[in-house]
């Protein structure tokens, strides 16, 4: 089995540097004929059409998204929080599941970049009349949507959409599979607070098996060179590494005992425990989970000094995280929410600009 840390020789080294890295140093001294314009940084490009997960996104691409997020944060600090790069583009928010923070932050992000936004909720659309997903996508494309942000309870649904849509598809959460923009904002929050991601010890505690946030985060953190530890009851942990290629997770460390998992951690992230898991027999009782795995002040005290406490929300206070930890000085949970808008602005700018995709 893959308990314990496997050697990850294939792990790419993150080419990411701290905030406001000087891209100019990488640029050639010879400038383009369009003098007076900044020369593009040659090595950093995002040419993909869609963002469906972080498993196929390189450290360089993630670094570019995080660097662009710095610029977006600056825009959000201005008196007029609106810039024009996506004028004339239409973003469709297609949500088959409930969401507050993700949908609203995509909407604000698109509007801050001067795009138009259409919100489609499945319950109030032809979906409730039995229209198939592919037909819905064709309709939205025919109506002039340039890109679709989709949340769906079926893992893999965004991949189907991406096949049928000429424009960009952004996965805003599919089943238990992936939630790449949440992972990006988590990575950004860590980099903003600690200045780097590479080399950090990051521990994720809770129901990782059913968490799309955890899966995307594991990929992103691993790609950026962090040491990731997963902690929770065996019934709620995935099998990682080469032993099980089907789960498609990189070889990270598994530790069932929370005190050991938190030792030396620079970042700890708690995940929501859902009551359905007990009905499915995966957890004996909520009380037992609280006793063994709740993030308490005492447990977090065993982590590295200044360890960041994160939670992707929505939180069950008093279950996976104690209220005094959730609102304590080490918590960056509110930063995670507010960084969501800037990260999604960066992503929309990088994916949606231009003449459309080259496929």
């Amino acid at each position: 089995m893959t308990n314990g840390e496997l050697a990850a020789d294939s792990r790419p080294v993150a080419a990411e540097s701290g905030p406001q890295a000087s891209p100019a140093s990488a640029a050639s001294p010879v400038r383009s004929a369009a003098a007076g314009r900044p020369a593009p940084v040659a090595r950093a490009r995002l040419t993909r059409k869609d963002l469906l997960d972080l498993d196929d996104v390189s450290a360089e691409e993630i670094g570019l998204i995080l660097q662009t997020t710095d610029s977006m944060k600056e825009i959000l600090s201005r008196p007029i929080k609106r810039v024009p790069p996506l004028r004339g583009k239409t973003l469709v928010n297609l949500f088959y599941e409930n969401s507050t923070r993700t949908r609203v932050s995509f909407e604000l992000a698109a509007k801050n970049l001067s795009a138009d936004v259409v919100n489609v909720t499945a319950s109030a659309s032809s979906v409730s009349k039995g229209e198939s997903l592919v037909d819905t996508i064709r309709t939205l494309q025919a109506l002039g949507g340039d890109a679709i942000v989709i949340r769906h309870s079926q893992s893999g649904a965004p991949y189907l959409v991406a096949k049928h849509l000429d424009g960009s598809v952004i996965n805003a959460g599919d089943g238990w599979h992936a939630h790449p923009t949440q992972a990006l904002l988590d990575l950004y929050t860590i980099r903003e607070r600690l200045g780097r991601i590479a080399g950090l010890n990051i521990t994720i505690v809770g129901d990782i098996l059913h968490s799309r946030v955890a899966r995307s985060n594991i990929w992103g953190m691993w790609r950026m060179g962090a040491h990731v530890t997963l902690c929770g009851p065996a019934t709620l942990l995935p099998i990682v590494g080469e032993a099980n290629p089907e789960t498609g997770l990189p070889p990270v460390r598994i530790e069932h005992r929370i005190d050991q998992a938190l030792e030396g951690a620079d970042v700890v992230m708690a995940l929501r425990i859902q009551r359905e898991r007990m009905q499915a027999g995966l957890l004996p009782s909520l009380r037992e989970y609280v006793n063994l795995y709740q993030l308490t002040t005492e447990r977090v005290g065993k982590a590295a000094p200044g360890c960041l406490v994160m939670h992707p929300g929505p939180m069950n206070e008093g279950v996976e995280i104690a209220p005094d930890v959730a609102y304590g000085p080490q918590s960056v949970i509110e930063d995670q929410v507010s960084n969501g808008v800037a990260v999604r602005m960066a992503l929309l700018y990088l994916l949606l600009g231009g003449r459309g995709s080259e496929i």
Partner: protein, 177 residues
């Protein structure tokens, strides 16, 4: 490829000194003045002007950096988006005399973008433009208030500005393929 040196290190230094004096004369001092360097090479040029003005007037002129990427007019026709750089306007620009600083004035499209960007920060009293080289070929009705060197060019030529802070040396070159 033919390359010719257009400005040497000392010529760049003298041109900036003259521009600094012209800025003082036109604005009657440095009160309410804000220098805004356009990314990338306008930023060190603005810093140099600030240092010269400090020497002359014994007052520190506020300085900012502006990236116009999100205001470019060619975003919709590019396939890959340009990388955005740092913007930092540390003061309220409303009622200030803004001097935009860039290395080369060419089509004028960057300056058009910069004007839109600055206006999003407030309502300046005046916006002026200082460039190290004006190479002509304007595509918009824009002109510079302060010019280091007027340089008539052909459109197949390329003007290359090298600055110590970024490129390790001070030099302006003109090249032709």
């Amino acid at each position: 490829m033919a390359t010719k040196v257009i400005m040497t290190e000392s010529e760049i230094r003298r041109a900036l000194a003259r521009i600094a004096h012209e800025v003082l004369e036109k604005n009657q001092g440095v009160d309410d003045l804000v220098l805004v360097g356009l990314q990338t090479r306008g930023v060190p040029l603005a810093a140099r002007l600030q240092a010269i003005l400090q020497d002359l007037e014994k007052k520190e002129v506020p300085i900012g950096a502006l990236d116009v990427t999100f205001y470019r007019d060619d975003l919709a026709i590019r396939t890959v988006q340009p990388v955005a750089r740092h913007t930092d306007i540390p003061v309220d620009v409303t009622d200030k005399n803004i001097v935009l600083v860039d290395d080369v004035l060419y089509t004028g499209r960057t300056i058009r973008s910069a004007l839109s960007a600055v206006m999003d920060f407030g309502r300046p009293r005046r916006i002026q433009l200082a460039v190290l080289v004006d190479r002509g070929h304007r595509e918009l009705p824009i002109q510079a208030d302060y010019v280091g060197k007027d340089l008539p060019t052909a459109s197949d030529e390329e003007v290359v500005v090298c600055l110590e802070e970024i490129d390790g040396r001070d030099e302006v070159l003109i090249t032709r393929d």
